[in-house]
């Protein structure tokens, strides 16, 4: 039913690609300005100078900087992320395993956050100025002010220690044979349930904060939208308040929410990076911290790159959602 303007989409894709190129360049500059050579993490005390030279050669560190840059850009675009000196495996092996975990946590939170946030924002904007609005809004701002890891600790304490309801570690049952008996095999359904079960607490902790961003935008926009003539007309048409609010006001308010979504999404990604560390959840956040602290440049580089790509993908999705929400864009008649 929707006919997204190919021109618009192509334009967004090109911009995304250029963004990634710029980010990669930035990454390269950043890591090459780092003190100390990461080659040291691979050296062993017994190596002679000659062997170190050979190692440098192997890693291309003897090439002129421009050559290293070109190689880096080419390699990354062909999906070649190199080898992790710290973990002793190809970087891609690390990413491949950890990225899905982060994506699951981050994606789930983004979805719940962007379901709850605009919904609450819609009601608050609609009730703007009422006592209910003020107390929930204030509550939202307080939630927005919570240090994510701290609230996660409190949740673990409550739900895991006190109530013994939810697991507070890992993303799935480690040794299912112990729980379900020997010879146990995962079925897709059970595996999914298991992951969701383990996801509950991190998700809760992250959503407790992550919903606020979109709520704030929605609330403000909603309030502007309620003053629009089409909302008045919808009411005059005899629509129920609920229908006016949801179908006419909220639907329009979602457009600016979609435009500003990337900020909230990036915020949630930041949260995920921290929360992973609380829940012993081996994801990208964990990985980037470990690799930065261990001078593992190839991994740092790749993780940062993948997270940036993740955000770029989110932006493309955001653009598509925006296009879908706003017919003025959809037909290629972008208004300034």
């Amino acid at each position: 039913m929707t006919r997204i303007s190919a021109k618009y989409l192509a334009q967004r894709l090109i911009i995304s690609y250029l963004t990634i190129l710029v980010i990669m360049t930035l990454l390269f500059v950043l890591l090459h300005s780092m003190p100390g050579s990461f080659i040291q993490t691979m050296q062993s005390p017994d190596m002679t100078g000659e062997q170190i030279e050979r190692l440098k050669e192997q890693w291309g560190l003897n090439e002129p900087l421009w050559k290293q840059y070109v190689d880096f850009m080419v390699n990354y675009q062909t999906g070649e992320f190199g080898w992790s000196p710290h973990w002793n495996v190809p970087v891609w092996n690390l990413i491949e395993r950890r990225l899905p975990r982060t994506v699951i946590l981050f994606g789930a939170t983004t979805i719940t956050g962007f379901m709850i946030g605009p919904l609450v924002g819609m009601y608050l904007g609609w009730w703007r100025g009422t006592k209910r609005d003020r107390s929930i809004f204030t509550g939202g701002l307080i939630a927005y002010s919570l240090p994510s890891f701290w609230i996660a600790w409190l949740f673990i304490w409550l739900f895991s220690f006190e109530l013994d309801l939810l697991p507070a570690k890992y993303m799935r049952t480690q040794f299912p044979q112990e729980v379900y008996g020997t010879g146990f095999e995962w079925t897709a359904m059970m595996a999914m349930r298991d992951v969701l079960w383990h996801l509950a607490l991190p998700l809760l902790s992250l959503t407790a904060i992550g919903w606020v961003g979109s709520m704030l935008i929605m609330r403000t926009v909603m309030q502007n939208v309620t003053e629009q003539d089409y909302v008045f007309l919808a009411r005059a048409k005899g629509l129920s308040e609920r229908k006016v609010m949801i179908k006419h006001a909220a639907r329009n308010a979602l457009i600016p929410v979609a435009t500003g979504a990337i900020v909230g999404i990036a915020f949630i990604l930041d949260g995920a990076v921290v929360i992973e560390n609380v829940f012993n959840y081996p994801g990208m956040g964990n990985l980037i911290l470990d690799s930065v602290l261990n001078n593992d440049h190839p991994t740092t580089q790749a993780v940062f790159f993948m997270l940036a790509v993740l955000l770029v993908i989110c932006r493309i999705i955001q653009d598509i959602a925006y296009t879908y929400l706003d017919p003025r864009i959809k037909f290629g008649e972008e208004e300034s």
């Binding site: 629009q228 003539d229 008045f232 005059a236 048409k237 005899g238 329009n252 706003d326 017919p327 003025r328």
Partner: protein, 385 residues
């Protein structure tokens, strides 16, 4: 026979300070099939009146006293033959008068919703922006139909929407377009079409032509007139543009500062104005018939409606104001009678030509002097003293 009757309607807006008296003791009637025009400067309360009919006032607005009687009742209050059920009339819990008219201000929110659009529809102010940008125009008309006639099948409703658009001069297939693909006039006409969707008894048009250029204005007015003829609806047109009103309305009501200053047939009010405000207002608009050399604006600004003084609302700007005007706002007097010399015959019911002015005794003099430029310039000094 009135379709709609305003009875001593007073509307207030709550603010942090004292309430704003947006309208005060307004009485007038809209007859079946007729067009009533409400004119006045902006901020005089006419839009408030329009909105109050369907309980569409802003959140802080409320009807303090008075009624808006509407000559129909909710379907369940009727007998099979369409008459009002006697017990409804007799029971005080139902807001229905002895003559079978229903008080719109007393309906609860569910009931008034059923009246909206179904019985009375509305063309909002700046209806340029009244179409929701994210839905197809046709769908928005269908929505109105389906709210009130849920039994209508989807495709039938669509057909009707297309028919309606066609009737206001928009091609049927444009129903699938979005508002931003319409021109200004098209949007306006689409709204008019939408207003007719449920075959209402009455349409309220709030400044239907304001934001449009003159040529489009004409076309829109034509469309309104056409629709009115075809559907035989009563209309309440609200506008600050007295010349537009002169062309379209059967009767006119002139409002100022929340008060009805004058009402009567268009001819009476335009040709024989009986209120200084109407006279001043006329001066400030080009009339269609006679070309005026220059337009005269009424000096001063409309009064604030928070705690208005007891005097005649217009007294401060009125070149004819005397001490008698300073005590109280005048009641409605019969202007016919005044022309005949009986200057202060009160006429609360909206019949004939009425005017709220103590100086009806010097009506002729006022009419003469109002045409002179100096009359209006003089007022500046007395009003400030």
């Amino acid at each position: 026979m009135p379709l709609l009757e305003f009875e001593d309607l007073s509307i207030r807006y709550r603010t942090d300070g004292p309430d704003v008296k947006a309208s005060e003791d307004v009485n007038f009637e809209v007859d079946y099939g007729k067009t009533f025009g409400l004119v006045g400067e902006s901020g005089c309360g006419k839009t408030t009146l329009g909105k109050s009919i369907l309980q569409l006032l802003d959140d802080n607005g409320y009807v303090e006293s008075g009624h808006i009687w509407y000559d129909d009742v909710l379907p369940e209050w009727k007998t099979d033959t369409g008459k009002v059920r006697p017990e409804v009339v007799e029971d005080d819990r139902y807001p229905v008068r002895d003559d079978g008219m229903m008080d719109l201000t007393a309906l609860d929110s569910d009931d008034i919703r059923r009246v909206r659009w179904n019985n009375i529809s509305l063309i909002p102010q700046s209806s340029m922006n009244a179409l929701n940008p994210v839905y197809r125009v046709g769908d928005q008309i269908v929505e109105a139909i389906r709210v009130h006639e849920p039994e209508t099948p989807e495709d039938e409703a669509h057909e009707r929407a297309r028919d309606l658009l066609e009737q206001v001069g928009i091609e049927r297939e444009r129903a699938d377009d979005y508002a931003h693909q319409f021109s200004g006039g098209m949007k306006q006409r689409a709204i008019i079409a939408m207003a007719m969707a449920c075959n209402p008894d009455m349409v309220i048009a709030d400044e239907p032509t304001t934001a449009l250029d003159v040529i489009i204005q004409d076309r829109v007015l034509d469309a309104i007139r056409e629709m009115q003829d075809q559907f035989d609806v009563s209309m309440l047109i609200i506008s600050h543009d007295i010349s537009v009103m002169a062309e379209t309305c059967d009767r006119l009501g002139v409002m100022y500062g929340g008060r009805l200053m004058e009402s009567g047939t268009t001819k009476e009010v335009i040709e024989n104005p009986a209120n200084p405000y109407t006279m001043g207002l006329q001066n400030s608009f080009p009339t269609v018939e006679e070309s005026q050399e220059r337009l005269l604006a009424i000096p001063g600004t409309p009064p604030t409606l928070t705690e208005p003084a007891d005097e005649c609302r217009f007294a401060e700007r009125c070149p004819f104001a005397t001490n008698v005007c300073m005590n109280d706002h005048p009641p409605m007097y019969d202007a016919e009678a005044a022309s005949d010399g009986r200057s202060r015959v009160q006429q609360e019911a909206d019949v004939g030509h009425r005017s709220a002015c103590y100086r009806l005794d010097v009506l002729e003099e006022m009419r003469e002097r109002a045409k002179e430029e100096e009359t209006w310039q003089q007022t500046e000094t007395p009003s400030s003293s």
